[in-house]
């Protein structure tokens, strides 16, 4: 099975010397739906940033077989879509259409191709009618879906999502689960919400204090009540 992400002995310290990630070794197969779980401050977001080449530490990170370095960054970012925690940071253009078109335009696609990709991405996330809307006119759920559309339009092989369920009501969270389940890409999702994680993932990696504590089958890890309690997490209500 080809690997979507391979990380070997990756270590990163914040500029003040605090250790953020310690000796991370991780391999994610293409097509996997993996959740990074862990308490606040465990290093989940930093690890996602490291996968997109925004955090430079020691060790090796390979994305779709390409090692992250200065020369590869453009290729890597067209293969790995990175969706940030706050949709207001992700949606920076005056209209939703322009936001979703931003990535494809930077990839050098022709105008007609860009329009087709934007239409398809907005259709996928259920916002086909809202292309002309300004992001500040969207609801929290719509912003979240729009943020995902900005990534889908680039047709990446891998999508990373940082706390995508944050500030969503149960209905919007269910809609998001349905949307993410239908995506064909490799999904890497950082979350503290175990029910959300259980509804989506087939693999889980438990992080705490910048270290990988456990990794493997999502149901197995998340149903281990002792392990979850030790790291400030809870067992999901349903581990289907």
């Amino acid at each position: 099975m080809p690997k979507a992400i391979e990380i070997e002995n990756f270590t990163y310290k914040y500029p003040d010397g605090t250790s953020a990630l310690s000796d991370i070794t991780l391999s994610i197969e293409a097509g996997a739906r993996l959740v990074l779980i862990g308490p606040n401050g465990a290093g989940k977001s930093t690890l996602l940033l490291a996968m997109a080449g925004f955090v430079k530490g020691t060790g090796k990170v390979l994305v779709d077989g390409l090692e992250i370095n200065r020369g590869n960054l453009k290729k890597i970012r067209s293969r790995l879509g990175c969706c940030l925690e706050n949709p207001d940071d992700q949606l920076f253009m005056p209209t939703l259409f322009d936001d979703v078109a931003f990535g494809p335009l930077n990839m050098g696609l022709e105008a007609e191709q860009v329009k087709a990709r934007v239409a398809e991405a907005l259709q996928t996330v259920g916002l086909a009618e809202l292309g002309d809307k300004a992001p500040h006119h969207l609801s929290a759920g719509q912003k979240r879906a729009a943020a995902i559309a900005t990534i889908i339009s680039m047709s990446p092989k891998i999508i990373t999502l940082d706390e995508p369920d944050g500030s969503l009501d149960p209905r919007n969270r269910d809609n998001l689960v349905k949307l993410l389940k239908d995506l064909p890409q490799t999904l890497i999702i950082a979350t503290c919400n175990m029910n959300f994680a259980a509804a989506l993932a087939d693999r889980a990696v438990l992080l705490d204090k910048g270290r990988i504590i456990a990794g493997g089958d999502a149901k197995e890890i998340m149903s281990d009540s002792k392990l979850m309690a030790e790291h400030g997490l809870e067992v999901p209500h349903k581990t289907e």
Binding site: M93, P94, I151
Partner: protein, 258 residues
Amino acid sequence: MHHAHIDKFAYQDSPVHRLDSRVKFIVVLVFTALVISLPRTSVSILACYAVGPFAILVLAGIPLRFVFKHILLVSPFVLILALSCPLYDKTPVSVAFGPFLWNTSVGWMRCFTILGKFTVTMLALIALISTTRFNDLLTGLQRLGLPRLLVIQLGFLYRYIFVLIDRAHRILRARAGRRLRRLKFRAELQIAASMLGSLFIRSIDAAEHINIAMQARGFDGNWRTLSKLQIRRCDLFFLLAAVVFMLGIYFFVKPILL
């Protein structure tokens, strides 16, 4: 949070909304320059000029209550300037309007002219903003030669000003929720300074995240958008009508001063 967006009617559809943003911008720019350059004796000319943006607003279906509310919102600064005029210039002057004739002072004439110019230019500006999507306006400005960096800055300003206002409101609310006693002015000032500092740090933090979001989608310093602007026959007709209207008033309407 809900914001009273000045462009909330820009997403409607009307013949005025469909006009090219560049044409509307140029017309408003020339119109404003003409109105500002009018002499202080030109209250009657101003009244004629007001018909233009007023007609545009009605044609575009913009509620006049909304228009006048926004004019009133920004009027205090101009009111102070206008109302101070009668105090320092009391030179007597006679004014005729049709069969009517009355005596007043140059200061009052100047006061009414300032208020008139302000109202008419605001009508034109609101007509532009309420009938043009901000993004189309930015694209139009870029096509008209405004530096790209400035256009990007304006785009970010428009996108994030509401986010910033929301954050400021939340900080103020958090402060109000814990304000159990009245503090001395100096202590209040210290708290206000730390609130501003917090807002500043959060803004820098947000800017860093936005930069990451842009780079993650391949941003390399070149701003690329799909421009949808196109000058059509109706745009040229509007431009011609606006020129005829403005020049007609400029050459044929006389001031009222004797």
